[in-house]
């Protein structure tokens, strides 16, 4: 297959028949049969751990299913590895970009071909690439290294890559998580048009109901590895889809928000400026005030400086200019300040940013308290017995599932790691709490618990800064929302007084 050509009528239908996959005792997929008609835009819904990724990886040949088969256009096909999948015209866009940052778009496209020439005649290849791009509904610059692309452009290039390789069954894994609402709508709209024209079939893994309702024709819902239902989107509602996803467990009330007026300004970010790892400015005069007893959510598409803002507050990145003020005093992120001013933090991906994987649960829980009595005597001598006792108490109180306090924290599940970190950070008096993406990748139960804990701190009077890439999370928890775009905050409003569309516009930079 040299060169691409997406021609009308090439879309195929996909059917899985009784697919099963086990990992040890865990049945990740259990007898899953689904049908995706040719030229349809099909959504795959389910909460984290439901089996969506596993199903898709089986179709793509990363895993070998224990049982079951895949049919394309009604004919059974054997897919033993990703190469077979590609040969069958199945392509996947992953959650994390699989583009090579230092190579240009042209080089990325060329190298992705199985038949890439041994010696490259760039004049000829670039000409053919230009011809290919002319046929496509969207374009990207060919000679710029990917490292300089915006997230939306990278996503477009990922899709273009699949089309270039003549894949006509596209599987997308949470494709819009790194895009602004505007970019997301643009790309999903373009894909939908291509499906309507019968050029491709799309299967999209998502958890965003809005996208399902706006762009998809049909949906399949997975829960605990089984296909629990689905159908045409026009026949379903958000509630019915949600019920399918969560199952019989009661949909409980959202975390109770205490009715209170916000207090004084406790945390103030004044003109924060910082550079990223390459020395380019990433925070450009960030200004924000957070009051006692309120949650301010920082919304924004990932890559606009939110991570770096959190790093500045967590002492992991230096400030070039500007000041952080807590209770009207300048704040330096050192241990003494954290203790005196009662500042606590829940970084995202706790195992990577807040815990030492090889240390025990007891030791990890002691990070805040190891240099104070009762654990530390005389300021420098460490006693293991008080450490263990305190750990036991917190493990019980926060329901951290662990065989023993001496287990390495890396052996715990994601939800329990986060619970352990919560136990460490929230068990004392909290005046300022800084949180980033606390529920990423966790199951519903853990998510509910953690959000409840955050709300409880707010109710008790803490000033909470919540940085999240999940707009729904912010809309549910926050009192006020601030939008971060291009390294600065360009919009602040009370959650009750604004709507998604306005927030989305500001996220896109307008």
């Amino acid at each position: 297959m040299t060169g691409p050509a997406t021609m009308p009528g090439r879309a195929v239908s996909l059917e899985t028949v009784a697919m099963s996959k086990r990992f040890g005792p865990l049945a990740a997929l259990d007898d899953v049969s689904l049908r995706v008609p040719a030229g349809s835009f099909h959504a795959l819904l389910g909460e984290n751990g439901a089996g969506k990724s596993t199903l898709v990886k089986c179709i793509m040949g990363f895993y070998a299913a224990d049982e079951g088969s895949v049919l394309l256009d009604g004919k059974e096909v054997e897919i033993r590895n990703p190469r077979d999948a590609r040969a069958q015209g199945i392509g996947m866009v992953y959650q994390h970009f699989t583009l090579v940052p230092s190579l240009t778009a042209a080089e990325n496209l060329l190298i992705s071909r199985a038949d890439a020439p041994l010696v490259v005649d760039w004049t000829r290849e670039k000409r053919k690439l230009a011809e290919f791009l002319d046929r496509m509904p969207f374009k990207v610059p060919l000679d710029v290294p990917i490292a300089q692309f915006a997230a939306g452009e990278k996503q477009k290039l990922e899709i273009l890559k699949l089309l270039y390789l003549d894949q006509h069954l596209l599987i997308l894994d949470e494709p819009t998580s790194v895009l602004t609402p505007g970019e997301a709508d643009e790309i999903l709209g373009l894909l939908r048009d291509m499906t309507r024209r019968g050029e491709i079939t799309v299967i999209m893994i998502t958890h965003k109901f809005r996208e399902v309702l706006s762009f998809c024709d049909s949906v399949t819902v997975l829960r605990r590895g089984r296909n629990v239902g689905g159908g045409r989107v026009s026949d379903l509602s958000t509630e019915s889809m949600a019920r399918l996803m969560i199952g019989d467990t009661q949909i409980r009330e959202r975390a109770a928000r205490a009715d209170r007026a916000a207090g004084k300004t406790v945390l103030e970010l004044a003109g924060l400026c910082a550079n990223n790892d390459e020395g380019l400015p990433v925070l450009k005069a960030v200004n924000l005030k957070v009051h006692a007893g309120e949650i301010v959510g920082i919304a924004g598409v990932s890559g606009n400086g939110q991570s770096q803002l959190f790093e500045v507050l967590a002492g992991q990145r230096a400030l070039d200019d500007g000041r952080v003020l807590i209770k009207d005093t300048p704040f330096e992120p050192n241990r003494d300040s954290y203790y005196r001013l009662k500042v606590f933090g829940l970084p995202e991906e706790p195992l990577k940013n807040a815990a030492v994987p090889k240390m025990t649960v007891a030791e990890n829980i002691a990070f805040r308290s190891f240099d104070r009595p009762p654990i530390a005597k005389l300021g420098w001598w460490l006693s293991p017995v008080p450490m263990r006792d305190k750990a036991r108490e917190l493990i019980a109180r926060y329901r951290v599932k662990t065989p023993s306090p001496e287990t390495a924290i890396a052996d715990l599940s994601g939800g329990n790691v986060q619970r352990a970190i919560l136990a460490r950070e929230l068990s004392g008096d909290v005046d300022v709490l800084i949180v980033a993406n606390p529920c990423f990748g966790l199951d519903f139960a853990s998510v509910a618990e953690i959000r409840g804990q955050i709300m409880e701190q707010r109710n008790r009077g803490a000033a909470v800064l919540l940085v999240s890439e999940d707009l729904d999370e912010i809309l549910e928890l926050a009192d006020r929302v601030a939008v971060m775009s291009g390294g600065t905050i360009n919009y602040v409003a009370a959650v009750a007084a604004t709507d998604r569309a306005t927030i989305g516009q500001h996220m896109a930079g307008h």
Binding site: N81, P82, R83, R86, Y94, H96, F97, T98, L99, V100, P101, S102, L103, E107, L110, I111, S112, A116, P117, L118, V119, V120, W122, A147, D277, E278, G279
Partner: protein, 306 residues
């Protein structure tokens, strides 16, 4: 004909740069290839020494210095393959492996090399590129080993291959983003294994230069850190094969300061001038560590700069 000392030193420096740079060049090119694929091989010091010994021993027994060069390359490839194979095992620290290979390679070289310290092996000839100058010292300086020309050719080939061949692009991809390579079905471990092996091959040839050309004999003090300096050299050259050649010439000149000054009778500070390359290397590492430009060019998967 007496000459101004400054001129003598300059001529000696040029000659030194040309001569001393060649092992640097080969090791740096080998390491450049390895690091472009995302792996660091700190064990090249041991490879250099083992290559030197194998070249000398082979040349001695077969009478052909070029067979010695080949043997050195083969020995280097074996060590490189060991490094490449071991480093793909999970939880293995490639920097520590490099240190271990350094002592292993050196140990094996000294062990088997003991009988070769005295005897004289046939040496590699030189190309008298300076014969047209009427000046005998300049002519001596400009005597160029064919290995130097080979090294420059290898650098040009590498530079071209990185941009214009499938394998070059695959190597760059593996070094910049292992997930992207895996998604494309490329075996990251295999690519790194091959580049480390080839890198070892080149480094071995660098060793052959030491024992078969300049200084042209085998003993246990033959190399002292050149393999290590080559690693810094690659960082300084920002992973470009052509810049590696330039940097190697620079390092060669630095290494030639001591002997050049000695040739005009400046004997003090001998050790300091011999330490010049190490100091230069350290300096360069400090400068390029936080440099913005280096940050752009660094292969994303390289562990020493993460």
């Amino acid at each position: 004909m007496s000459q101004a000392p400054a001129l003598v030193v300059l001529i000696a420096l040029i000659g030194g740069a040309i001569r001393v740079s060649t092992p640097f060049m080969f090791v740096a090119l080998g390491e450049c290839l390895t690091e472009k694929s995302g792996r660091v091989n700190l064990g090249l010091e041991g490879t250099l020494v083992l290559g030197a010994m194998c070249a000398y021993a082979t040349a001695y027994h077969t009478g052909s210095p070029w067979l010695g060069v080949l043997a050195a390359g083969a020995a280097g490839a074996v060590l490189g393959a060991m490094h490449g194979y071991i480093c793909k095992l999970p939880r293995v620290n490639d920097i520590a492996i490099g240190i271990a290979m350094m002592s292993f390679g050196t140990g094996v070289a000294f062990f088997f090399g003991k009988p070769y310290i005295q005897p004289q092996a046939p040496r590699l000839g030189a190309l008298p590129l300076g014969a047209w100058t009427g000046n005998p010292q300049l002519a001596a300086s400009l005597e160029v080993s064919p290995l130097l020309l080979l090294g420059i050719a290898v650098a040009a080939l590498m530079a071209w291959a990185f941009a214009n061949t499938r394998w070059g692009l695959i190597v760059r991809m593996t070094g910049d983003s292992a997930p992207a390579a895996k998604a494309m079905g490329v075996s990251v471990d295999l690519v790194r294994f091959l580049t480390t092996t080839m890198g070892g091959f080149l480094a071995g040839i660098g060793g052959a230069f030491l024992s078969l050309y300049y200084p042209g004999s085998w003993n246990q003090g033959l190399s002292s850190g050149q393999g290590l300096m080559a690693v810094a050299l690659v960082i300084f050259a920002r992973w470009s094969p052509v810049r590696c050649v330039v940097a190697a010439l620079l390092f060669g000149a630095a290494g030639a300061i001591g002997p050049s000054l000695q040739s005009v009778g400046v004997n003090q500070g001998y050790y300091f001038f011999n330490a010049a390359p190490y100091i230069l290397t350290l300096f360069i590492m400090v400068l390029s560590a936080k440099s913005k430009r280096a940050a752009h060019d660094v292969p994303g998967e390289l562990s020493i700069t993460k």
